[in-house]
């Protein structure tokens, strides 16, 4: 047996010493690995990925990430170019050696052609000037025009010298760089911009995006158990964060590169930009780590989460200021004025160092200056952190320390069950409260404040007001209804212990969030109605549309959220898949546009379609709900309403496309073109639908869709007979309708429209109406839509709803008879379960309408 002491030293000697550099590399590697894993985990699919991480998906993920990074860097460069242009214009005109003002070549040409005197000349000059400076806003343009006028009056056309237009250049070559005073002002303005960027990044990284802050277990506690002195640890953390900082590499580096190229550094520009970026990254990481350490020492974890909410709001607000300010507008000129004046210090913060070195300093002193400044900040931050943890890493305990807290009130005013739980969580979790209820107000308020035109439009036209109120409500739903499942987090297991199906619980939650969103919409409507000049009865319809739309979209949002949430994902914040939010926003925006629509018909159609979409989503949710926590099992494949809606949409889009191609490319006349389009689109949709169902292995597919021939010979005849009878009935109804239209003088205009629709060549018309249309439309609307609804709803509701969808897709004048026909077709399909029946109904109906039209027309 070896003596204990030599065992101990043997173990110690075997290990390598952990130097600062190695610690930095390890820490940076760890942070980078974590960052990549978090980003790539969003691409994981459900089936079988539990115990295998496929290499192919990881490679795709890397490619995708690289693509996103490159496009963001590119956008930053473009925006920087624009910013430089605006700043250049804001600083003032540039004069060359002989005192001639530089001017856009195009404007110069126009100006040179101005002849005449007096008012004509003035007008011509004004017109010429109007062609330039299109990237500036109104106030700036007026200043420019005045300066140009003054110069023109003094020296005429010789007071100007033409230069290539700057706003075309990707990287503008501003003459202001060459004039010392302008250069200084430009540098300070850009420095102030960098300050704003740094502030945004600071708040954003400390806000809701930060995983470590506000957790009960802090990963740094674990790091402290490693054999690393505190100095090494904090240096490693700061440098690690600096190395793995997407903001620096994707925003700061392109920004500085464009800046330095524009300033004329030429080939030195990328190197100088790199130096500047490293410096900025180190400074910002130092501030971040210092703040995090200080906060962890001072505040308990629940307070930290509340503080994070504040940071989120601040970060978001400053990000918006940045985003909107960088566009041509008053902000950049205002910035220039401020740095010229008393607030010049804003441009001289440590963040602006890379730009200030653009002054008359040599390269060597720039490098030395940067390195010294970075080292200074770094050691200062490290010293600060060490001082903070001198009495232990954590002094505020998050765990239960035996305090007897105040007794909670029984909360008689809070409703019972799941709604009560969510209301309590909303009131107590400040982060969530801000995210859900305050952020929409900030965003919308900002829009109103900045975009004066919007406020005007709302006051003038109540339709805009209704759309705006709807938009506010729909936006409030993104943080609440979309996350109904994700917000349960790791406590989801509790919901599985209750004798209530999961989707019923989630529906109750949706009602709660619909209520909140509706409250926002109603309040916005009331406020707008006070602002409006007068209210017409039609405005009440728009208001109604907005309110109903918000409620329907609450269910659409929660349905999408349920389908797009992966409860097995380990990181709670990642559970909602990214595409879900975007998809919801697209759908909500479509409804918003419908409110603007001039015809009530489009609005009614949109309403019906949204309702159906909400129902289709929830049908899928109740299919999938039992399998949510199972990584491999899937619900039995079935024909759903969602499939029907997709098929209908695809059919109409394809039909339009094919007929367009036929008319434009193949030069076919509209009549046959429409028939061909129907046939082709119908065929494609049918083929893909059948293929998709077959791939999914839907059991009893032929019976489901009604394609299977009935067994007994007699029932086939019965099927055909029922179809014939129903078709005749529908046709009589249509003829009656046409008769009424013809004989009631008020409606004759409608009747002419109805007849005009059918003015096509007879042969093709017959083909279309008796063969192509019935086949395609019946397969989609009765075979898929009706069947999809029927498996979850009663006969009556399915018949009426599928007929409603069908009627909506036809021109308004023919709605009533078409609706009747659809009802009869669906009912007869339900009786005979054979798709031939509704096809016959449709064909007979079309034939009778055609006959009726030709007889009456």
């Amino acid at each position: 047996m070896m003596p204990v002491s030599s065992v101990w030293t043997k173990g110690l000697l075997a290990r390598r010493e952990l130097t600062v550099i190695r610690a930095v590399l390890l820490m940076a590697g760890l942070l980078a690995r974590r960052f990549c894993n978090r980003l790539l985990s969003g691409l994981k699919k459900k089936k079988g990925d539990l115990r295998s991480g496929t290499g192919r998906k990881r490679k795709m993920g890397v490619v995708f990430m690289a693509f996103v990074a490159v496009s963001m860097a590119w956008s930053t460069m473009v925006v920087t170019g624009q910013v430089l242009n605006t700043l250049g214009s804001a600083i003032g005109p540039v004069y060359d050696a002989e005192g001639r003002m530089e001017m856009d070549r195009r404007v110069y040409r126009e100006l040179a052609q101005v002849k005449g005197v007096g008012k004509d000349r003035d007008r011509a000059v004004k017109q010429a000037l109007g062609r330039g400076w299109t990237h500036l806003d109104t106030a700036q343009r007026e200043t420019w025009e005045r300066t140009v006028w003054a110069q023109y009056r003094d020296r005429g056309i010789d007071g100007f010298s033409p230069v290539a237009p700057n706003e075309r250049a990707f990287i503008p070559k501003l003459k202001q760089w060459e004039i010392p005073e302008s250069r200084w002002v430009l540098c300070k303005a850009l420095g102030a911009l960098l300050l704003l960027l740094a502030v945004t990044r600071y708040f954003a990284t400390l806000g809701s995006g930060n995983q470590d802050l506000g957790q009960v277990d802090w990963s740094a506690e674990w790091f402290f158990t490693l054999p690393l002195p505190a100095r090494h640890f904090f240096t490693a953390q700061i440098l690690g964060h600096a190395l793995v900082d997407p903001f620096s590499w994707i925003v700061a580096l392109p920004f500085l590169t464009v800046l330095f190229i524009s300033a004329g550094l030429g080939w030195w520009a990328p190197a100088a930009a790199l130096l500047g970026t490293v410096y900025l990254a180190v400074v910002m990481a130092s501030l971040q780590v210092l703040t995090e350490t200080w906060l962890r020492k001072k505040l308990a974890s629940s307070r930290l989460k509340n503080l994070q909410a504040v940071f989120t709001v601040l970060g978001m607000s400053s990000f918006f200021v940045l985003l909107i300010g960088c566009r041509p507008g008053p902000m950049l000129p205002w910035l220039v004025e401020t740095v010229k004046g008393s607030a010049g210090w804003m441009g001289m913060t440590p963040f602006a160092l890379p730009i200030l070195f653009l002054g008359d300093t040599s390269e060597v002193s720039a490098v030395i200056g940067h390195t010294m400044a970075a080292a200074l900040v770094l050691s200062g931050a490290v010293a600060g952190c060490i001082w903070l943890v001198r009495d232990g890493l954590v002094t505020v305990s998050g765990a239960y320390a035996g305090r007897r807290g105040a007794r909670s009130s029984p909360g008689w005013f809070i409703p019972a069950g799941i709604i009560g739980k969510d209301v309590r969580l909303l009131l107590r979790d400040r982060n969530f409260f801000v995210q859900a209820l305050v952020v929409p107000l900030i965003l919308v308020g900002f829009q109103l404040f900045y975009n004066g035109g919007l406020a005007n439009a709302i006051g003038l036209n109540f339709q805009y007001a209704a759309a705006f109120a709807y938009g506010l409500g729909a936006y409030a739903l993104t943080s609440t209804a979309l996350g109904v499942l994700a917000v349960e987090g790791n406590a989801l297991w509790m919901l599985y212990g209750f004798p209530v199906p999961l989707h019923r619980i989630m529906l109750k939650k949706t009602v709660l969030w619909a209520g909140f969103a509706l409250a926002y919409t109603v309040i916005a409507l009331v406020v707008c109605s006070f602002m409006a000049r007068e209210i017409e009865p039609a405005d009440l319809i728009y208001a109604g549309m907005a309110c109903v739309g918000v409620v329907i979209h609450a269910f659409i949002a929660s349905g999408l959220g349920m389908l797009g949430t992966d409860p097995l994902e380990t990181e709670v914040k990642r559970r909602l898949r990214v595409g879900t939010v975007n998809l919801y926003m697209v759908l909500a925006a479509m409804f918003g546009y419908a409110i603007y629509a001039p015809s009530w018909w489009t609005q009614a159609a949109q309403l019906v379609l949204s309702c159906l979409l909400a129902y289709a989503l929830w049908q899928k949710v109740s299919d999938h709900a039992p399998y949510l926590l199972d990584p491999v099992a899937q619900p039995r494949p079935q024909v759903s309403l969602a499939d029907g809606l997709i098929a209908a949409l695809a059919f109409f889009v394809l039909q339009g496309l094919v007929s367009l191609i036929a008319v434009l490319v193949f030069k076919v006349t509209p009549g046959p073109a429409l028939t061909i389009a129907f046939g082709v689109a119908g065929g494609i949709v049918a083929f893909f639908a059948l293929f998709a169902f077959w791939r999914r292995r839907v059991p009893h597919l032929a019976e489901e869709l009604g394609l299977a021939l009935p067994w007994e010979y007699g029932s086939r005849w019965r099927g055909l007979a029922v179809g014939l009878a129903a078709g005749l009935a529908a046709g009589c109804g249509a003829l009656l309708y046409l008769f009424v239209l013809a004989n009631v003088p008020m409606l004759s205009g409608w009747r002419d429209e109805a007849v005009a629709v059918h003015k096509l060549e007879t042969k093709w018309l017959v083909m279309l109406m008796l063969v192509a249309a019935p086949l395609c439309e019946e397969f989609i609307f009765r075979g898929i839509v009706f069947r999809g609804m029927r498996r979850s709803l009663s006969v009556g509701v399915s018949v009426l709803a599928s007929a409603g969808v069908f009627a909506i897709c036809h021109p308004p004048i023919s709605v009533v008879p078409v609706f009747l026909m659809a009802v009869l077709a669906a009912w007869s399909f339900e009786r005979t379960k054979w798709l031939a029946t509704p096809i016959i109904v449709h064909a007979v109906y079309n034939g009778m309408v055609l006959l009726g039209n030709t007889m009456m027309g």
């Binding site: 539990l50 629940s302 239960y400 909670s408 212990g497 004798p499 926590l629 099992a633």
Partner: protein, 252 residues
């Protein structure tokens, strides 16, 4: 045939496959009413997967699991009235106090406020959580979280209790309390099905034991029945190692 002889839990040919990994393979066992049954096995044997299939959280790849004649997956909502579940690592909602969580569970089971207060009060007293019940649940220690989860499971007085590694992480006092509570509930006529990897706990507490290893059933029965093929006086440990060796031989 009286209802007492129909087993409460019937598992037949239960299989769960993830990709090409068999978490549970052809499991077959029954639990009678009023029994204290232990599912014994090392980590990764498939105990938690079996329990999740009983709870209806997972759908079996093949085979059936029935409780009280109802299928565990298709009739899971109805079964929740008769089952209580204690997970291995209970995680509760942030920002909710213990008593609020209990009230939430009670309301979801359909009880009125006075009824919840009565039931919860009794259980809280029994498990000595009265001091901590007003505190936020996330701040509880591990033992207190398990106690709170146990009260949630017992609140609606279920006929079957399913406990996943119930004493994992509990101190000796809490373990003794839990064992006493389990024996008491069985004496009242309830059935308890729990999973564990502690041999001595299974030996001390249970009527019948089921041994699972690598997803397969190595043996099931009372301790006497399991000891039959081994020399007399063998402990559960000897039984366990001999049975698991057989499973290894069968699978290789």
């Amino acid at each position: 045939m009286t209802s007492n002889t129909i087993p409460l839990v019937e598992i037949d040919g239960l299989t769960k496959i993830y990709g090409d990994f068999k978490a549970v393979a052809q499991l077959k066992l029954t639990v009678a009413r009023g029994e204290l049954f232990a599912l014994l096995g090392p980590n990764g044997a498939g105990k938690t997967t079996t329990i999740r299939m009983l709870m209806g959280i997972l759908q079996p790849t093949s085979g059936t699991a029935r409780i009280d004649g109802l299928d565990c997956f298709t009739d899971r909502v109805e079964l929740k009235r008769r089952m209580g579940y204690l997970p291995d690592e209970p995680i509760f909602y942030d920002y909710l106090r213990g008593i609020e969580i209990l009230r939430f569970v009670g309301e979801m089971h359909g009880f009125s406020r006075p009824e919840i207060n009565r039931r919860a009060g009794a259980l809280v007293e029994r498990l000595e959580l009265r001091d901590a019940i007003e505190e936020y649940a996330v701040n509880y220690s591990k033992g207190m979280k398990k106690k709170l989860a146990l009260i949630c499971a017992l609140l609606h007085d279920p006929a079957l209790l399913i406990l996943d590694e119930p004493t994992n992480g509990l101190d000796p006092f809490a373990t003794r309390e839990l064992h006493a509570l389990m024996r008491e509930k069985v004496a009242e006529g309830r059935t308890i099905f729990f999973s564990t990897h502690l041999l001595d706990q299974a030996e001390k507490l249970c009527d019948r034991i089921g041994i699972v290893y690598k997803g397969r059933l190595a043996g099931v029965g009372t301790l006497e029945e399991l000891r039959r093929d081994l020399p007399t006086g063998s402990s559960l440990e000897d039984v366990f190692f001999s049975l698991t060796k057989e499973v290894d031989k069968r699978t290789t």
